[in-house]
Point group: C2
Chain length 309, copies 2
């Protein structure tokens, strides 16, 4: 099952995607269910009731007619992993624990939904604004002290993430802080795909395109610490809540092809990491994060027009 959130006037509505083009409005098919995804996940049988209500129905609404929104309004936690792909560790030259996840957090306000514009920071204050294609994990079943071998039972589903990062601010101090939390600097979506439909994350791969050119491509089994290990680790500290969200980390950038002039132009590469390929997002770009078998998260990048200088 694929669940979307979308703009319905000034409200956020939920839907179930039934085909490449159509979806069902949850308010139509299951009016007794709560109106937010987190509240549905908080009901032990929430996803099962939704699946039952959608069974055999054809979508009445066109995906092309709606603006997708982030489907988790304000979860208790948005975790993100630094340096969890071996190729990204190699390209940055940074060190990380091989035993414990390298965890920081993001705010809800730092993300937009599938097809909403991502906002590039004003060039006057930051230029190293980088894409990071990632797998997103959404917790369904709450739990504490979850053993690794039972961790996947606590996952409701998965999504694509562009974990957009402002490197200058990330490097202002030792904790990443604001550099990972610029307004609308990242995105996730296009939908939550439930775990039964997605299957084992390790059998999938993630890919990032900028203006159609592939800039990242990695199998998800290249992670240093996999989904089960990270879920289990987090549950040592606190009782995981339905809707808690984990960005599993990004792979390294690919080397540009011989005919890729833009990718080879390092004069326009800013920031602390000497990477072999283009890593930035700029106004006018179209950035896509695709996870095979899940879908494509596609966002235009726009300039921040709120900056007066």
């Amino acid at each position: 099952m694929k669940i979307i959130a979308y703009a319905d006037g000034d409200q956020i509505a939920l839907g179930v995607v039934t085909s490449p083009t159509h979806f069902l409005a949850i308010a139509d098919i299951a009016p007794d269910l709560p109106t937010t995804l987190i509240a549905i996940l908080e009901q032990e049988d929430g996803l099962a009731r939704l699946r039952q209500a959608a069974l055999g129905r054809n979508g009445a609404h066109l995906l092309a007619n709606v603006t997708l929104k982030p489907f988790l309004e304000r979860p208790n936690a948005i975790w993100a992993l630094a340096l969890n792909f071996k190729s990204h560790i190699a390209e940055t030259g940074l060190q990380t624990s091989l035993e414990f996840p390298h965890l920081f957090m993001r705010t809800a306000a730092s993300y937009v939904g599938g097809n909403e514009p991502i906002i590039a920071p004003p060039e006057a204050i930051a230029r190293a604004f980088d894409y990071e294609g990632e797998l997103g994990v959404v917790i369904g079943k709450p739990g504490r002290f979850i053993p690794v071998e039972r961790a996947m039972e606590h996952v409701a589903g998965y999504t694509c993430i562009n974990e957009g990062s402002v490197r200058e601010y990330q490097m202002h101090n030792r904790q990443f802080g604001l550099g990972k939390n610029f307004e609308a600097s990242g995105s996730y979506g296009p939908w939550l795909m439930t775990g039964d439909e997605f299957g084992d994350p390790a059998t999938h791969s993630v890919l990032t395109r900028v203006n159609g050119v592939v800039r990242q491509r990695a199998p998800l089994d290249d992670m240093l610490l996999d989904v089960a290990k990270v879920v289990s680790y987090l549950s040592q500290g606190y009782r995981l809540r339905p809707g808690d969200f984990i960005a599993m980390g990004t792979p390294g950038a690919l080397k540009p092809q011989a005919d890729d002039k833009e990718g080879q132009d390092l004069s326009r590469q800013y920031g602390p990491f000497p990477t072999p390929g283009l890593v930035h997002m700029r106004p006018g770009d179209c950035v896509e994060v695709e996870i095979d078998g899940l879908g494509v998260l596609r966002n235009p990048v726009v300039a921040d027009t709120s900056y007066a200088g």
Copy 2:
């Protein structure tokens, strides 16, 4: 004005404190206002309407009869500053930028309210569980690119924080991550005091007591970066939201007095920082954070009984 949240059956209700012993229920005096503090702050005249409704009334309810709860349910952001007091920088021997705040984040689930129990992690997984007495800042008026000299206009008020920290987990990797986010490991309260009543933070001081013994005491003007600078900095990255919360950092621990046997017993000091005094919280302790002119945040510490080993 002092605003509390408290348990009312399985709901959270709001109140206005009118004396050292009594409060008014907001649902009684201003039934038209929203039922969460963040929603009240989101209304431009929310606090003004509340002040008007409470004017001249005597509290009908006893503070002693209610359990205080965190007054911000799930704000967009809970920021916390590392190494923002010169005395704490000195005791840890760590480095930090003198120009940019050292920012990480906490979850709502990591905090309890005034007089609720703080949960110490199971000793089998962590023993360096430390208090951190701090000033908390709550954003009222939204804004982006706020100059330092106008930053205080965006602050709704202040509170006391015990930013309880699990040092072993904090040191698992370079980002603090889970070590700052154990279940119910910190607290804030007892109330939000509005800025007009609190005045200039730099004229106040913060103090932490464990079982009645003063363990931290520092003027708030010992901060490396003050409230206005931090609010302005954060607004460079994103539009501050009503309810956004900032823990301003903790001062160093005091050296124990000559007659303080427990404080001088370093055989019970765990963790990475060689401190001159007792920094831990243990089950059975009573920990208080007091900010003069604001109030006392008092929490018992209890063992985590959910751990099966």
